[in-house]
């Protein structure tokens, strides 16, 4: 008995936490690697046009994205090559845009709704016809703040 008591005399042995930093570092690296944009899987090819007079979009959380471009290689057999609209993760038609905007609005608080911006990420080779259809649908639901996504052009022509 005496022996027994002596063993437990020091209290509980401390848990070895020397590997905790390693675990946390592993997590850290995992996040650093995986946070590289996983917004939506793009099903359309979008190469945005270049422009010089561009502005940064301020609030990320208040932006909804509409993608327009020709279907990427995996979807060519199914959907052809004509430019199409993508909302969230699926192909859509212009008619579905009001519904999409309503959903985006419902996800935000009422005070934020007037500041919602729609970012049109359109391929530079798309035709204005499809873009105009989208614009008209946006006007119908009064989503008037839009942003034509483009990259900065450095060279002057």
């Amino acid at each position: 008995m005496a022996k027994f008591r002596k063993k437990n005399g020091n209290g509980q042995p401390a848990i070895n936490t020397s590997s905790l930093p390693d675990i946390v570092f592993m997590l850290l690296f995992f996040f650093m690697v995986t946070t590289v944009m996983r917004q939506t899987d793009l099903k359309v090819k979008v190469v945005v046009p270049q422009a010089t007079e561009i502005q940064k979009l301020e609030k990320k959380s208040l932006v909804s994205y509409v993608y327009i471009g020709s279907p990427s290689d995996n979807f060519k057999a199914q959907f052809g090559t004509a430019p199409r609209i993508q909302l969230n993760d699926a192909f859509a038609t212009a008619k579905q845009i009001p519904e999409f905007i309503e959903k985006e609005r419902a996800a935000r608080s009422e005070a934020e709704v007037p500041f919602l911006t729609t970012s049109l990420k359109c391929d530079r080779d798309a035709k204005m016809g499809i873009v105009t259809d989208v614009k008209q649908e946006l006007r119908k639901v009064s989503a008037l703040k839009i942003n034509y996504s483009s990259s900065l052009r450095t060279e002057v022509y």
Binding site: V24, P49, Q55, R139, Y148
Partner: protein, 183 residues
């Protein structure tokens, strides 16, 4: 004495986890998914159905008509123009330094009317918008420098408003027509 120096003290790694957590949180917060940039536009509201379309009477000289066809060619006030000249022409139209009777009376009255075909490429459309915006930005900057000695984006609110009221940037977009065949 020699006994003491032999055993090297252990480094306390207990706070290592905290440091790593701090880093982790820092990265979680700051990783920005590629910044989105672009040309900001405000669409005009949809006209009410039962509301009669009021005809805005604008003097011909105050409207710069830009037409873009499905071959991405530009017609500016009846003249075939390349995109390179669009900015210069727009600035001339808005400012009208020579007092030309065919160009805008004052910058405040200037309206740019843009009409494109359904077959116009999106790239051309953006380039046109870009040039128009560039024209206005340059004019606003020039005025800001002349009047307040500062570039436009460094002005305070009242000064900005004053210039924005002078160079108002009214771009009216007509609904495109489907003339040019391919869509």
């Amino acid at each position: 004495m020699p006994k003491k120096s032999r055993s090297s003290p252990e480094i306390n790694a207990g706070s290592m986890a905290d440091i790593a957590f701090l880093l982790l949180i820092f990265f979680l917060v700051t990783t920005t998914i590629d910044t989105d940039k672009g040309i900001a536009i405000k669409l005009p509201p949809m006209p009410e159905e039962n509301q009669p379309q009021e005809d805005l009477k604008l003097k011909e000289r105050n409207v710069l008509k830009i037409l873009v066809n499905s071959y991405d060619q530009l017609l500016v006030d009846g003249e075939l123009t390349s995109i390179k000249d669009l900015k210069r022409k727009t600035k001339e139209f808005i400012d009208n330094p020579a007092g030309d009777p065919t160009l805008a009376e004052t910058p405040m009255k200037a309206v740019i009317s843009l009409k494109n075909d359904r077959g116009t490429s999106y790239n051309t459309y953006i380039q046109v918008h870009n040039e128009l915006k560039a024209a206005y930005n340059e004019l606003r900057n020039a005025m800001a420098n002349a009047k307040f000695g500062k570039p436009f984006d460094k002005l305070n609110k009242e000064q900005t408003e004053e210039i924005q009221n002078y160079y108002r940037q009214v771009i009216s977009e007509a609904e495109p027509e489907n003339i040019g065949g391919t869509n």
